[in-house]
């Protein structure tokens, strides 16, 4: 029985970095996720280091900045890893986002987009008054009138 197999089986392999020799992480991140996380951690560290200069000093500044960068990198890395797949790798997602907004094109000619703006109804000079059924006396209190007597 002929078996037809596309090359997807070996192309969509999930490559994870388990850790350096002798150490095995408790989690399994793909190489892409590692790259994204570490890159963003570094960027986050540098930004935080500049921001937290007035608040912390010395070792604390480094520690807090690293924690902030690592938090940012881990969160975004996890988010990207969740969105990315074999068919939509990270570079594809980034490129797609860029292209979607880069190539906006012009508005269709001849089409009139009319935005109707409505002023508050009370500002209209000829607003019909609608009797309103009040369930309590709050409106009377707002006007400074005495509360309604109970029947």
């Amino acid at each position: 029985m002929p078996l037809l197999r596309s090359d997807d089986t070996q192309r969509r392999i999930r490559a994870v970095w388990l850790g350096p020799r002798g150490i095995t992480w408790k989690w399994e991140w793909s190489y892409s996720q590692w790259i994204v996380t570490l890159t963003l951690t570094a960027i986050g560290f540098l930004v935080a280091y500049q921001l937290f200069g007035a608040m912390f000093g010395g070792g604390e500044r480094i520690l807090v900045s690293f924690a902030a960068g690592a938090g940012l990198g881990t969160q975004i890395g996890a988010f990207v890893a969740k969105k990315a797949s074999f068919d939509q790798p990270i570079h594809f997602l980034v490129g797609q986002t860029w292209r979607e907004f880069r190539h906006l094109g012009r508005r269709p000619e001849g089409e009139q987009r009319i935005r109707l703006t409505f002023p508050p109804i009370t500002d209209l000079p000829t607003t019909p008054t609608t009797p309103k059924e009040h369930t309590d006396d709050s409106h009377r209190r707002r006007r400074g009138a005495a509360p309604r007597r109970a029947a």
Binding site: F92, H103, R106, G110, Q112
Partner: protein, 900 residues
């Protein structure tokens, strides 16, 4: 395109002056979210016949011929697939380039209804119109409306293959304008084009070079997805220059917004603005297939089972095995390293990694050691465009498409973003988006798509009868194509009662009559008799009720025509004496056999088994031929069957008495005098003023059930056999009544199963089959069981086609498969066919499931003879709420109480 603007000036005047300033959010969403035109520079410079000049090179386009697939045997399917794989492999490896761009486009094309009508009008000489009745022109108009409607379409499978880099200006000019001394680059391109043409025009593809009109259709179709595209554009010039290409993109726009799920295509239909919403879905990682053994459809043809059309685009390139070797090695090494990495960490290697390693090894083996069917790869994007009038409907259809493939082929399709760019890939010559949703498989996998599968039966011209069920391709059927191309004109029709035989015959009889073809139909049960009263046919048709025919009309001897000398003259006017003598002898023996069979049909089974009966019948027939005082002096066509009874009455053999008694009873039967007249005179030649359409009916006949044994038949049932038998002979005489053999004639025989049970009947069908070609006659013989036609010896080899409709049992269905020459595995399909559906084998032995269409012409509605429920609404007035207590119930109870 314009939206109706509400004139708000008066309203504004009444309002206080408020600032018309959008908020930041409105600004952001307004900028990014509003619909924008998706513009792109078209890559095509020029089109010349099949050659498309783009900025990336020259593409040669081919149109693949439709391939009948649904009833092919497994061996035939594998053979076709094998040849296709090899040819694609040959294309992939024929050029020494790293990547050879190739674009497979599958589209739907409306039927060229106008061209069909023009051909019909030019080639036919219809009968004069009847005032107040639908005319021939009306017929063409109705048919055009049906053929041009969106419900009928034909698949157009095209393939564009890269044949070279953009040539220099001189070479390009030579290619476009032609030259006796072409530039060497032009020569190279022509050489590659011829090479491709040789590959694609051969078996399995049967392709041809695309014309400029094909290319124009494809460009229009791709730029305006879902909108009608002109069928015949610029046929004369066969060229599209750079300036003319503008008409593919003018007056149409693609509107989309970031991350929109669809593209809105705005164009024009007959001057009026029209919109279509298009959703593009992309193919994800495909599962392994066991095909064609699994019996599933080819993976591209699977989408044909949906009730809406889709557009396919496979935009990518071929890579030869040699060029891909380093890539495959890298992939294998990477997987090996991953395995090693797990082992270093003393962790179990996941199963999917091991499977991937096996697959990578297999791929490497195919690439390095495989033949041209295994080694070359196709790499690119597989996309489908689904369209509808509204966005919601388009999205719904796309979802239906994805679910259909997930269920039947386990193919994952995904709605992707960046729809405008993905739709651009459908346009011939446009580049592929080289990121994401990329597939790679060998050419055998690509061949398994079978883009050109489309049920195609019937003829290129002729009346419109229906459509192929799977592909919804129009089914035109010229019954005289066989006889006029040296093939048999006999077609058999088998279907159970209510299967649509009468409808099929009627759909053939109607156009045949208005086209002026002499037509005779035998319809014992009579539902077709009403056609003689259709307003447009009434002056040219008659219903011949045999109950009112003169005595001796069905006398067997007169039903076998005597050969005419003028039909045996050679080109010099000399008589072919041998041929003529043989024909005389053949006619004589056929008459004797026919009379013998008719006599035996009258007799009961018990009497037939009596000793000496056969001898007595033979003796009586011999007596007529050799000794009878009148018969020996007159033409055999005037012989009277009563002479047989008279001879037997004089016989001294005791077996003759019951014989005479039964034959006398038969003669006194309701229609018995048609065969055995009451008088003993020679039967005079009866006037035969056949109208253009003659429908022979026999009301009052009660044919026995086909499945019952002859021993169980009553006298009345037995007497119907010779009637049906001889009526077929009577109808067939029309063939020989015309002096001009080339005139088109039609004979339609219902209840023809009687013929196959008697030697003379089988001889008649064989003679008709042989003579149909010589006399340009189309014959349709109907029965309820295919066995009736299979039983006629060599008839299956002499038929020019076959129809098998719904059958009541699996055994009958298997016989139907045998008649059609298809695998008996298809038998269960025949049990569930709907009314008017037939599996049809045409004169070129192509087989497909077709549906007779009797709804497009107002007259054809009358052909629907199967009783059914009226579609009138049960409730004609406004529905009232049901009362809690029915008053009638109370009154009944009251009456009961009172009665008690």
């Amino acid at each position: 395109m314009t939206l109706t603007a509400v004139d708000e000036a008066p309203r504004r005047a009444a309002l206080p002056d408020i600032p018309d300033k959008p908020t930041i959010r409105q600004r952001v969403t307004g900028w990014f979210g509003t619909t924008r035109i998706y513009d792109f520079p078209i890559q095509t410079d020029q089109i010349a016949g099949p050659l498309q000049f783009t900025t990336d090179g020259v593409l040669a386009w081919f149109v693949l011929a439709p391939l009948n697939w649904e009833f092919k045997t497994r061996d035939e399917r594998e053979q076709l697939w094998d040849v296709m794989s090899a040819k694609l492999g040959l294309i992939a490896t024929s050029l020494d380039v790293d990547k050879r761009p190739v674009h497979v486009r599958r589209s739907t094309q409306p039927y060229a209804a106008y061209e069909w009508a023009a051909r019909m009008a030019a080639e036919s000489t219809p009968v004069p119109d009847v005032p107040g009745a639908p005319s021939f022109e009306d017929y063409l108009v109705y048919a055009q409306q049906q053929l041009g409607s969106g419900s009928l379409e034909q698949k157009m499978a095209t393939i564009g293959i890269w044949i070279g880099d953009p040539p220099c200006d001189e070479a390009k000019r030579d290619l476009i304008e032609g030259s006796e001394t072409p530039h060497e680059e032009a020569e190279l391109i022509i050489d590659r084009l011829r090479e491709l043409e040789t590959i694609i025009s051969g078996a399995a593809f049967d392709g041809r070079l695309a014309t400029a009109a094909d290319m124009a259709f494809l460009m229009h179709r791709s730029m305006s997805v879902g909108m009608p595209a002109p069928m015949n554009t610029n046929i004369g010039a066969n060229r599209w220059s750079a300036n003319e290409l503008g008409q593919f993109v003018d007056r149409r726009e693609w509107l989309t917004s970031p991350y929109a799920p669809s593209v809105e295509v705005v164009g024009e239909i007959e001057g009026a603005p029209a919109r279509r919403h298009v959703v593009v879905v992309s193919l994800g990682a495909t599962p392994d297939l066991t095909w064609p053994d699994s019996g599933a459809d080819a993976w591209m043809a699977l989408g044909d089972r949906l009730n809406f059309p889709v557009e396919w685009s496979l935009n990518g390139y071929f890579i030869s095995g040699r060029k891909l070797e380093s890539k495959a090695v890298t992939e294998l090494h990477m997987i090996n390293n991953i395995v090693k990495h797990y082992e270093e960490h003393r962790m179990p290697v996941p199963d999917e990694i091991m499977e991937s390693r096996t697959a990578a090894k297999q791929t490497l083996r195919q690439i390095t050691q495989g033949d041209i069917r295994d080694a070359p790869r196709w790499f690119g994007s597989v996309r489908v465009a689904v369209y509808a009038d509204t966005r919601a409907e388009a999205i719904k259809r796309a979802r239906k498409f994805r679910h259909h493939y997930a269920e039947h082929a386990h193919f994952p399709w995904s709605n992707t973003h960046y729809q405008g760019r993905m739709l651009r890939e459908f346009v011939p010559g446009e580049p592929r988006l080289e990121q994401g949703w990329e597939r790679r498989f060998n050419v055998a996998f690509l061949a398994a798509a079978m883009p050109h599968i489309a049920s195609h039966v019937g003829t290129e011209d002729g009346p419109y009868i229906g459509h192929a069920v799977l592909s919804r391709r129009a089914w035109l059927s010229n019954l005289h194509w066989g006889p006029e191309h040296n093939r048999s004109g006999l077609m058999t029709v088998s279907a159970a009662q209510g299967g649509g035989k009468s409808m099929l015959l009627g759909c053939y009889m109607h156009p045949a009559t208005i086209l002026g073809e002499l037509t005779v139909a035998v319809d014992p049960s009579g539902p077709l008799g009403g056609m003689a009263r259709w307003p447009e046919l009434a002056p040219y048709a008659e219903e011949k009720n045999l109950a009112e025919a003169p005595e001796g009309t069905l006398a067997p001897w007169r039903l076998v025509p005597s050969p005419q000398k003028e039909h045996y003259l050679n080109a010099d006017g000399v008589l072919n004496e041998i041929g003529y003598d043989n024909a005389l002898k053949s006619a004589k023996s056929e008459r004797t056999q026919l009379m013998s069979d008719v006599l035996r049909m009258f007799l009961s089974s018990r009497l037939l088994r009596t000793h000496n009966v056969d001898d007595l019948l033979s003796e009586a027939l011999w007596h007529l031929q050799e000794e009878h005082h009148i018969a020996t002096r007159i033409d055999p066509t005037m012989w009277n069957p009563r002479w047989i009874i008279e001879f037997l009455e004089k016989s001294s053999d005791p077996a003759a008495r019951p014989l005479v008694r039964e034959l006398r009873t038969a003669a006194e039967f309701t229609l018995g005098s048609l065969i055995i007249p009451e008088h003993s005179d020679p039967i005079a030649d009866l006037p035969s003023e056949n109208k253009l359409l003659t429908i022979i009916t026999m009301p009052g006949l009660e044919p026995p059930p086909e499945t019952s044994d002859r021993d169980t038949w009553g006298v009345k049932e037995r007497q119907t056999q010779p009637m049906l038998h001889l009526a077929a002979y009577l109808a067939s005489k029309i063939i020989y009544g015309q002096s001009d053999r080339s005139l088109r004639k039609n004979v339609f025989l219902d209840e023809s199963h009687v013929l196959s049970r008697w030697p003379s009947g089988r001889a008649l069908l064989l003679r008709l089959s042989r003579d149909s070609r010589k006399w340009n006659t189309a014959i349709l013989a109907c029965s309820q069981d295919p066995a009736d036609h299979l039983a006629i010896g060599k008839l299956d080899a002499l038929t020019g086609g076959c129809f098998v409709g719904r059958l009541p049992s699996i055994e009958a269905a298997q016989r139907g498969c045998q008649a059609l020459g298809i695998s008996p595995k298809h038998a269960p399909a025949f049990l569930d066919l709907e009314d008017g559906q037939f599996v049809h084998m045409d004169a070129e032995r192509r087989v497909a499931l077709v549906q007779v269409d009797a709804s497009w012409h107002p007259s054809h509605e009358r052909l629907k003879t199967t009783p059914g429920r009226h579609k009138r609404s049960l409730y004609t007035g406004k529905l009232a709420p049901a009362p809690l207590i029915d008053d009638r119930l109370l009154s009944d109870l009251e009456a009961q109480v009172l009665a008690a």
